[in-house]
């Protein structure tokens, strides 16, 4: 059934038990992103020390896809150098924009590969990228402030 292809167990697990949720201090920059078509929103903070992502904390309202993908994001980038975090982001964005034609690399994206099915639904790609756009923006802000 198509629905299960999209809503992999991994996604539903992250949705019901999100990792890293809640806004925390210390942080260097914060980003607020909204999906204007559905009103979903996320506020995300990053704490970067010596070019390493020390913490990502977030709060928001949104569908299972946007919430789960932000949860996966924290698993993927916390503790990683900014460069490596951005490589993972690029891989995730490529997967999501691939219309189901991109084969994800589990070594890079870990739980993120579960979103491969979401990429077949263009209307949901923005949901999956909401938290990532906030992460990108927050890191840029933290670097701008440094």
């Amino acid at each position: 059934m198509q629905l299960q292809q999209m809503y992999q167990e991994i996604i539903l697990d992250h949705y019901k038990n999100p990792h890293g949720r809640g806004l925390r201090s210390p942080y260097d920059a914060e980003s607020f992103q909204v999906n204007p078509t559905c009103g979903d929103e996320v506020t995300l903070r990053v704490h970067v020390v010596d070019d390493v992502v020390q913490d990502v904390s977030y709060d928001g309202q949104g569908c299972s896809i946007s919430q789960a993908s932000t949860s996966v994001l924290t698993d993927l980038v916390v503790g990683k150098p900014v460069g490596e975090a951005f490589e993972k982001m690029d891989a995730f964005v490529e997967l999501m924009q691939g219309r189901g034609q991109v084969e994800p690399d589990e070594d890079v994206l870990e739980d993120g590969i579960a979103f491969a099915g979401v990429a077949k639904y263009p209307a949901r790609v923005k949901c999956a990228l909401l938290g990532w756009m906030a992460f990108k923006d927050a890191v840029a802000r933290s670097q701008g402030a440094a």
Binding site: L3, Y7, C38, C63, S64
Partner: protein, 425 residues
Amino acid sequence: MTTTAAPLDVTALRADFPILSRTVRDGKRLVYLDSGATSQRPTQVLDAEKAFLQQHNAAVHRGAHQLAEEATDAYEGARQRIADFVGADFGELVFTKNATEGFNLVAYAMGNAATSGPEAARFVVGPGDEIVVTEMEHHANLVPWQQLAQRTGATLKWFRLTPDARLDLSDVDSVITPRTRVVAFTHQSNVTGVINPVDVLVAAAQKVGALTVLDACQSVPHGPVDFHRLGVDFASFSGHKMLGPSGIGVLYGRRGLLEALPPFITGGSMIELVRMEGSTFAPPPQRFEAGSPMTSQAVGLGAAVDYLSVVGMERVHAHEHALTVAALEGLGAIPGVRLIGPQDAVDRGGAVPFEIEGVHPHDAGQVLDSLGIAVRVGHHCAWPLHRCLNAQSSVRASFYLYNTLDEVDALVDGVREAQKFFGVA
């Protein structure tokens, strides 16, 4: 509204809409419950467009050849039939790109009034003047007024909503005051289907000499509407929500007002006399139809009102009312479903928004889609309304003449399915 006419023969009528017999998502029967966003078109409309393009296509209002003459007749003939359909005179309807352009036309023309001739003085707004809208508005009838206020220094005010999503008119006289220049409001909410008391607002506006601008996008397609009887000054609606083509909308303006209103978009076709130093403008409606207009779209919309007229708008309204009652009952009986807006079908058209506890609207829409059921999810271009009702977004089912009670049942079953899928039932 009551009707003594026979109910619709929906089975026969559905045969006119080829798209309704297609399947989606691996062979699922299509259950189209998103006509509030856009309606489907009957073959009569598609055929009228095709026949125009195959037999009469030419630029209208220019050219001395036979095709130009026929195209102009088809275009203006459509205007006449649409005018008859909404209780207006021929010269009171302006073709626009869509309903949004109609609202912008009025708002921008009012903004241009300060630098136009003395006949336009009645449209001037500035500091100290007030523009009144409602929290119920679609962004199309809200943002242009926010912008006009911003450009002119006028103040934007608004009617609030009651907890059951109807207009709170308890303070009419403090919202609409002698400083009010415009009252812009919707006839029927695109989210909740709530039908507003146009008479109350028109009377309050007329008492202080304010103009009224009606969003008729959801009323004209779904029931009998007579602009002269309603007494509004302007009204805007779109073709694609009433079985017609996209790319065409209609602005209604009372004759005397359109005659005095300065233009918005300028250029070819809307002029009277052009010299290098300046130009004068054609009388309405041409003054507001700059450039090459849509032609097959106007013809298609003419065919759509012919179709609706044969069906009968009283019957359309009664049919949708029955569907709405059934949907409110069916959805309302499911534990964990919150109906947003009025809980009953009184003074209401065929739109039913709701939330499912524990299932985000986007996810609910996805489950329904997997079952072949097309609904709208999100804030439906009415973000302030959702905020008022403590909803971040909602699922909206909206009905039209071709929907059936069977489809309402499918929706109700689909919602239960969504609850099961997300483990909340």
